[in-house]
């Protein structure tokens, strides 16, 4: 969903709107759950960022994500100075805009699967304790990924974010998230077993898709808890 206010939410969060614009936008927020959710996400990112000291990430996730959505050509083997690139970006975008871009990218990355409504690959068993392979799952930009590939890649990306941020989360929170991801994985496995016997069952197909969506939702929610570097 997009509306005339979506582009202004970052300014709103930064208190950069005029009084009349702010009043109009706040009236809009009272009826638009989509924009309200984005405002909440932006504020949460800013608050958590303020509480942190600067810390370099283990590696940059952007190249893998960019390749998947076709945002940039596939990189060559040439090494890129990520720190320099970030310095340039810092002058180009505000933190809320970067956060919004990250949220949008996660939606793009994981959004196709339930629209397609088809069976996906086997569920990925989650362990935040053991980070997945550090190399982002890469799908060539020239090949349109299947729904299952998009889903698996989105899950892998989010799991990687979680794995890298594990040390910054409360251990109890990590355990709860792992338990709930495991519960969702069991439900996914149940639905897949049921579909093996009845692949045309509309309910089972939609239930599987919905449960997979729940896993992505929980992973996104958990990834949002990881403080922003």
């Amino acid at each position: 969903m997009n509306d005339q206010w979506t582009e202004r939410l970052s300014e709103y969060v930064d208190d950069e709107l005029t009084d009349s614009e702010r009043i109009a936008l706040e009236a809009h927020l009272q009826t638009c759950a989509h924009c309200t959710t984005i405002v909440g996400d932006l504020r949460r990112v800013i608050r958590r960022a303020r509480m942190l000291r600067e810390q370099a990430p283990a590696h940059d996730l952007w190249p893998g994500i960019a390749r998947r959505i076709g945002a940039t050509p596939a990189p060559t083997a040439k090494t890129v100075d990520l720190a320099a690139r970030r310095r340039i970006r810092r002058w180009s975008f505000s933190l809320p805009q970067l956060a919004a871009a990250g949220i949008a990218l996660m939606m793009v990355s994981g959004g196709a699967v339930w629209l397609a409504g088809v069976r996906a690959a086997d569920p990925v068993v989650v362990s935040i304790n053991n980070p997945p392979n550090a190399t982002p799952a890469v799908i060539p930009a020239t090949v349109r990924p299947s729904a299952s590939q998009s889903y698996a890649a989105a899950v892998a990306d989010l799991e990687r974010v979680l794995a890298q941020g594990r040390g910054q989360l409360d251990p109890t929170t990590v355990r709860v998230i792992e338990q709930n991801l495991a519960a969702i994985d069991r439900a996914i496995a149940d639905a897949q077993r049921a579909l093996e016997a009845d692949s045309a069952n509309l309910y089972l197909n939609s239930h599987l898709a919905e449960t997979m969506r729940r896993k992505l939702d929980l992973l996104r929610q958990a990834a949002a808890l990881v403080p922003v570097s």
Binding site: R22, R43, R44, A222
Partner: protein, 298 residues
């Protein structure tokens, strides 16, 4: 204009008390960012915000006022703050945005949009108008007396909405969902491991979707209800306290039936639980609860 107050402290042993009051105008909202402890926001009949806090002395409370918002933020002198008890009084018209990490958050009698998010703590709200969005990862979420567009979300605990009106979205992963005396034109409630119960009118033209993987669904249906009902389960059961005109059987254990003219759309899905239709009043029947407890034991 920007005001920043670092609240003064009155030492009472190891506990320090903070107390300040700011005049506010309509249109200002309250933003709270509290790392841990308890946050209580109550409406009062004054156009001002009063912030009271009890801390151990290793934290401070920062209050900022702009034309758009009054912001209350707790800070530790060395790293994140620990437990702080915040008590805030606000005008009932003031919209709230409350954010915590290890914080339990309670709101009482505010008649404005409310957004609450915490990680490890309970959320308990009475009131709210317009957009009401409550979220906790590890704590339960309870909402009463709200009116508007309602979203309640937990991960590992129960969510409950009672005596409220408006569109409702209720989600959890490992918990029950209870929607009691809710007057909603649309409901979307889903959990993975948990029961779902709904009591309230099923409105003509409304849309109601309930889904659980491993749990029961109990839907209260008043006499005279007009709804098209779709029931789906894989290995669960369907029960009804009253006769239903089942018209056809879908592939698997799914079927549809129509009550009245069928104007509302009701979807009931439980992969392996019992889906039950009950009459108003019956949901609290002790004999029925005992019967279900016996079934669960089996």
């Amino acid at each position: 204009m920007l005001f920043v107050l670092i609240l003064g402290a009155l030492s009472l042993g190891d506990i320090q008390q903070f107390d300040t009051t700011l005049a506010v105008g309509r249109g200002q909202r309250l933003d709270v960012n509290a790392y841990g402890g308890e946050v209580t926001v109550r409406a009062w009949d004054q156009n001002s915000v009063r912030v009271e806090a009890s801390t151990s002395g290793r934290e401070r409370v920062e209050v900022t006022s702009t034309g758009a918002a009054v912001s209350v933020r707790t800070q530790g002198r060395h790293g994140p703050p620990s437990e702080i008890e915040l008590r805030i009084s606000v005008p009932a018209w003031m919209a709230l945005s409350l954010d915590g990490v290890n914080a339990s958050i309670r709101v009482d009698r505010v008649r404005a949009p409310i957004t609450v998010e915490t990680v490890e703590g309970e959320v308990d709200v009475t009131g709210g108008q317009g957009l009401v969005s409550l979220r906790s990862v590890q704590g339960s979420v309870k909402l009463r007396g709200a009116k508007g567009r309602i979203t309640v979300n937990s991960v590992n605990e129960d969510v409950e909405v009672a005596n409220s009106a408006g569109d409702v979205i209720a989600q959890t992963v490992n918990g029950n969902i209870a929607l009691k005396v809710v007057d909603a034109p649309s409901v979307d409630a889903n959990t993975v491991n948990g029961d779902i119960s709904y009591s309230g009118p099923i409105r003509s033209g409304g849309r109601y979707a309930f889904s659980t993987h491993n749990g029961d669904i109990s839907l209260t249906v008043a006499e005279g209800t007009s709804a098209s009902v779709a029931v789906s389960t894989f290995s669960g059961e369907f029960e009804s306290e009253f006769p239903v005109p089942i018209q056809g059987t879908r592939k698997g254990k799914g079927f549809n039936f129509t009550l009245g003219s069928g104007s509302a759309q009701v979807t009931l899905e439980s992969f392996q639980g019992t889906i039950e239709l009950v009459r108003p009043g019956s949901e609290n029947d002790p004999a029925r609860r005992d019967r279900h407890d016996d079934d669960d034991d089996d």
